[in-house]
Point group: D2
Chain length 278, copies 4
């Protein structure tokens, strides 16, 4: 048995489900589960189905048939498969290490192709798992030059998503545009609180009682991209900002992990800087 994922989004109108299910039925397929949502603010229809079958389906033929009845829709139909990812990190081990362990044990629904860092300190950890590690120093070069080197290295790999596992560099529009909707970041605050540098210090200074983390797709505005997942943990007056950061690491690695699970499972639509997640 194989799982195929069907994702459709288009302007909402009457009879969409009927047209879609008509074609699925004509192919003799069974919907294992489906979700549908209409964003009434923007009159947008979102549909995702998992189709289990023992047949081989001609993916582009199937898409063609759907396109014929949904001429303006975005349609994705493909067999569920392991994705390829590349990881960018700086110095911290908790998010990267968590992904490495999951990858090692087969619990990550992806192959990690390589890890790129602006420091060399994670090399030893990454190489334990027999993965390529590329240290691209940002010393003595401009942000632009550094990004060019990183992009060049990335382009050597074929990957579906780039995961920023605490990559502490701000990305330029140029970088982001090269991989639109393909870069996932973990920000160490419950956005939009504490945008920018050292959110734990900001949180400590504001005296908040909860801190959190946010996984989001990266777009041109720092920390402003479509949010995938968020979670929080309680803090109190006894904790200085370093202790908040320690407590936050639990949240960061979990939120990033769960967001990546959703991404790798093809559960997410990006629309108007928000996510629809089935």
């Amino acid at each position: 048995m194989k799982d195929y994922i069907l994702k459709i989004d288009c302007t909402d109108e009457k009879g969409l489900i009927y047209r879609i299910s008509d074609i699925i039925f004509k192919y003799g397929l069974n919907i294992d589960n489906n979700s549908e949502f209409v964003d009434h603010e923007h009159d947008r229809f979102f549909f995702r189905a998992v189709i289990k079958t023992d047949k081989d389906i001609d993916e582009s033929g199937f898409c063609g048939n759907l396109s014929a009845v949904l001429p303006k829709a975005n349609i994705i139909f493909k067999e569920k498969a392991k994705k390829n990812v590349i990881i960018l990190a700086t110095k911290e081990t908790h998010c990267l290490g968590d992904l490495l362990i999951k990858f090692y044990s087969g619990e990550l629904n992806a192959n990690i192709k390589a890890v790129i860092s602006n420091h060399d300190s994670l090399r030893d950890l990454v190489e334990k798992f027999n993965l390529p590690y590329h240290f691209i120093s940002s010393d003595d070069i401009s942000r632009e030059e550094h990004e060019k080197l990183v992009l060049a290295k990335m382009s050597e790999y074929s990957f579906d998503y780039a995961i920023l596992a605490k990559y502490m560099r701000i990305l330029s529009p140029n970088f982001v545009n090269a991989y639109e909707g393909k870069i996932i970041n973990i920000h160490h605050s419950f956005l939009p609180a504490f945008i920018g540098a050292n959110p734990y210090k900001q949180a400590y200074e504001r005296g908040v009682k909860i801190i959190g983390a946010t996984a989001h797709f990266v777009n041109n505005d720092l920390d402003e991209g479509p949010i995938i997942a968020q979670d929080i943990t309680m803090v109190n007056h006894e904790m200085n900002w370093q202790q908040m950061r320690e407590a936050g690491r639990y949240v960061e690695k979990n939120v990033l992990g769960k967001a990546i699970d959703l991404v790798l499972d093809d559960r997410i639509f990006i629309y108007k800087n928000k996510t629809v997640i089935f």
Copy 2:
């Protein structure tokens, strides 16, 4: 514009969505949103759609058309409307009071028809809201006789659901059978932990670090019915069991409130002692 709710469950087979959406399309209707789930353990298909329309739809005609293509399905199709509920309580005010306030302000999607209690102490509170209060003492009579009196009083009202807002009496099978799938209880623990009497004392004695509450439909086995909603709160060694009970009240009223929101919104299927909630 009106909202109609369509709920279908039946044995899973190919083409169900197609048959359903075909009829919806032939009626010229638009699905506002739908959810579908297949329970593969039991090969059971669950479907719920909200249909927004400015037309008046003949509900039984529509059901008939669906039944023709889904002969063995359970089908519910009706216009979304305020439900009627009856509340049973004992002495505590937090769950009852929360429902009264929501009812008063129009935030409860139901009319409260009456409150029945085995004590008289809630009368003053209930009558502030101009609702009938029926005190049915259990003193000097058997459980059986008491239930007969309560059932007789309930039968004077037409209602969709009976809410046990901390009604501290164990219901007999006879009582439960009279309103199968229509009685919602709040149990003051995260079931199945701490079944039975005084769960906060049990929790205190066990030294747990979380306590919770569970809203569930009532069936014949005490605290064993289909679970609708659960939530928890953190506790610690400083709290005696009375303080845990106080902390638990916040959880109890919230969980009951959220469960009732789901029930009144026709979002729940009961199947094999579990709930499917869309």
Copy 3:
């Protein structure tokens, strides 16, 4: 048996606990529980003890003895007692109603002296509970004039804390200064996210996956006062901002309720725009 609460804060130095416990010991008293915290950033010592005794203690004599050995400390020592509160509200019932129900059933450790509102719509609810309701319209008068009227009405009552139970008016510095550290507000976001108007709409537009609420003491900067309690709830793409607001009501009333419990229990120190909570 009576409970006395002792609260001390002062510049940190060696031997503070020794000096404090020495006096407690000389009075023949027993500390039921105590908490102590040193804020190393500001070298500030915070101490709170609950003392259970069957004796009557001369409160000012006891404070005098402590002051003799802690000359620069803030010292509060008094028998635990019900506080008096006044509530300001606008139109919403969920926070106000929750407080009324708790007050009615004796679960609020305070007497509600009166409710003041800039609308008349909550009168009926408040008067059900036999409490004075003062409608002070803001129509056709300046903010300044309105506040003067509200402050005049407040001054007719003797109260320990003013609770803003969704009072949707911005308070001027003049108002805030009149009751410094005595006004508790519930803000409908997890501050500092979504400061200002309609945070649920802001949250919806940002596409967040968690919303929250924050109870805080009010100071001169809107939504910038010392935070007492925060909590959150999960939201998703299916919810429009009105549904987020509905979900948020559960959080708002709980967070406000818990913050008030802490305040009424004399568990909070305010220092440098933060709270130390024991």
Copy 4:
């Protein structure tokens, strides 16, 4: 500057804090922070202080002075230091891997001395981190014989705590008694719900809406030891038990991680099968 940890528990009586702080004062030391709790059910006093100093303190002399004034108390006073731990695991990588990553990056306040397993499958992972791995098969031998071999291997190491990071063997009283209060287990349910085998399957079958995990000290009754930490995550009807197990892994590794942080920080008292945690 060094941190010393002082932990005292004894029968409650008047003047304990005075006597303790008197000695601390006489040594010219400053309490950095302290916590105190009296369990009134059992008249038991618990006290923990962190003392920061640049002096070297004679630990046994200090304890002796305290014992002179608190003759029946349990007193621990020692410089804060990295602990030594040994890990027992079976096949799963998520808890073990999390500990290895933290150990590798210095975020675990302990040295991992060795990993012992009843399977050989974790060897490769453990050896990546240059740690001894001992595979002690349970094939073809009795439980008694297997435990004897494990205990023999453990006795080769000097360690403070043994961490059961998903060690799927039931321990005999003999084993537990050898390391009373020194063995920490992670159980994959929010105890006392779902004691015993495959709690995720039990949770799925019961149709719960929350699952959780519990870290506890091990005693002779399976899953009945003193609880250190618990946490939960939401589940729903869409998840089969394998998916619940996946979701549960996030909770398991977090709860175990947080419990170990507390243990390694000397924050826990065990008393009457419960924990007091400062």
